[in-house]
């Protein structure tokens, strides 16, 4: 104890300061790695958000297409429904998601989900226009069962406007699972309704594979 008290070579100081240095360096490097890992998560989330936004924009652009142009094209036999394929998009090819991407579409939103390194990422974007997640024949069948008409120009639905609107809203709550490797059809559809106040039409975009 006497020797210890008289020892002025400061080895204890030296050891303590070096231990503190090592500890501080470990904490600093751990924080740096954590930050970098956080950035990777953020980047994956951002890529998923961009993909969802891109799909939403494609659907909205289909909805915004001028009807007059479409009917003219249809009349001339040039009408083409638009389509979207995730695998053909550069955004998707550049991302690390691959075929594990789960895509769900309902009348309200598109929902993308992916699991990477044990973490789950998801992105949701709402559509600006009204959407139904199935094809034309399913829609016509549903309308025929409920209202006895297909809702086409030749066979309009004869029912109350609000009743038809509510029925279509309920149909839109169904969710469809889409394959990112296959083409997704985006088809703008008019549903004609006749009620006491006159004839009118609902505009819907059908999303299906």
């Amino acid at each position: 104890m006497k020797d210890f008290a008289r020892d002025d070579s400061a080895w204890a100081d030296f050891l303590i300061s070096k231990a503190a240095l090592i500890l501080a360096s470990i904490i600093l490097f751990a924080a740096l790695f954590h930050l970098v890992a956080g950035f990777e998560d953020l980047e994956a989330q951002e890529q998923l958000d961009s993909l969802a936004r891109d799909f939403k924009n494609a659907v909205d652009e289909t909805g915004a297409r001028n009807f007059q142009e479409e009917s003219q094209q249809e009349f001339q036999g040039e009408f083409q429904e638009s389509s979207y394929c995730f695998e053909e998009k550069e955004l998707f090819r550049d991302s690390p998601f691959g075929g594990d991407l789960k895509i769900r579409v309902s009348g309200e939103y598109v929902y993308l989900e992916i699991e990477a390194d044990g973490k789950s990422f998801s992105a949701v974007r709402p559509f600006a226009f009204r959407v139904l997640p199935f094809n034309e024949s399913v829609l016509q069948e549903n309308l025929r069962i409920r209202f006895g008409a297909e809702g086409s120009r030749e066979s309009p639905i004869i029912a109350d406007y609000r009743e038809v609107e509510a029925f279509l809203q309920v149909l839109g709550t169904k969710e469809a699972v889409l394959n990112p490797g296959k083409n997704i059809s985006l088809n703008k559809e008019l549903i004609y309704v006749k009620d006491q106040e006159g004839a009118s039409a609902f505009v819907y975009i059908l999303i299906f594979q």
Partner: protein
């Protein structure tokens, strides 16, 4: 004269002091600072890291705050272009926007017309349409009737996009104007 003398003597004194301090520091071999130099550098690195992390979080928070406008401007612009072509706003005989149709849509009598006008769009986007003539003499505002009154208030976060239009005031007079779509932030976005 006195002032310049005073400053020159002051400068001399300062120079002498700095020289003394520097000389003593370079010749000091006691090593007071030497064992702790690495501690200081680590402390500086930690401070630098914390400043970097704070700056990055501030930038991200700033981006988050403005992301609504960044993301939704495109939708507002698309809606504005679409609405400028909407048959409900147009005159029967021409492709111009009709003042009579706008009067009907924005007036208290146009509840049914407004309902059908907004029916093409999903309820996810809460927006109103403003149309004004270039000279500011005429102004129409079309709001959805099913929107809660407080959801379209002035202070709320919103984004707007405009497109130029031509408004037919009567069969003999058409004036240039602007159609603006104001998109409000809802729980969705």
């Amino acid at each position: 004269m006195f002032i310049s003398l005073f400053f020159s003597s002051l400068l001399e004194a300062v120079k002498k002091f700095v020289k003394t301090v520097c000389t003593s520091m370079f010749r000091d071999e006691r090593g007071v600072l030497e064992p702790h130099a690495d501690l200081l550098s680590v402390a500086l690195a930690v401070i630098g890291f914390m400043v970097l992390a704070a700056l990055m979080s501030q930038t991200y928070l700033g981006y988050e705050d403005r992301s609504f406008a960044l993301e939704n401007y495109e939708s507002a612009s698309l809606l504005a272009k679409n609405l400028a072509e909407a048959p409900a706003l147009k005159a029967e005989t021409s492709s111009l926007l009709s003042a009579a149709a706008l009067d009907e849509l924005s007036g208290p009598e146009g509840i049914r017309e407004r309902e059908r006008f907004f029916a093409a769009f999903s309820g996810n986007y809460l927006f109103l349409v403003e149309i004004r003539t270039g000279d500011g003499q005429w102004h129409w505002r079309i709001e959805p009737d099913n929107a809660e009154p407080e959801s379209l208030m002035e202070g709320l976060e919103k984004v707007a996009a405009s497109v130029p239009v031509v408004i037919e005031l009567n069969p003999a007079e058409s004036v240039p104007g602007i159609l603006t779509v104001v998109l409000y932030k809802t729980a969705w976005k």
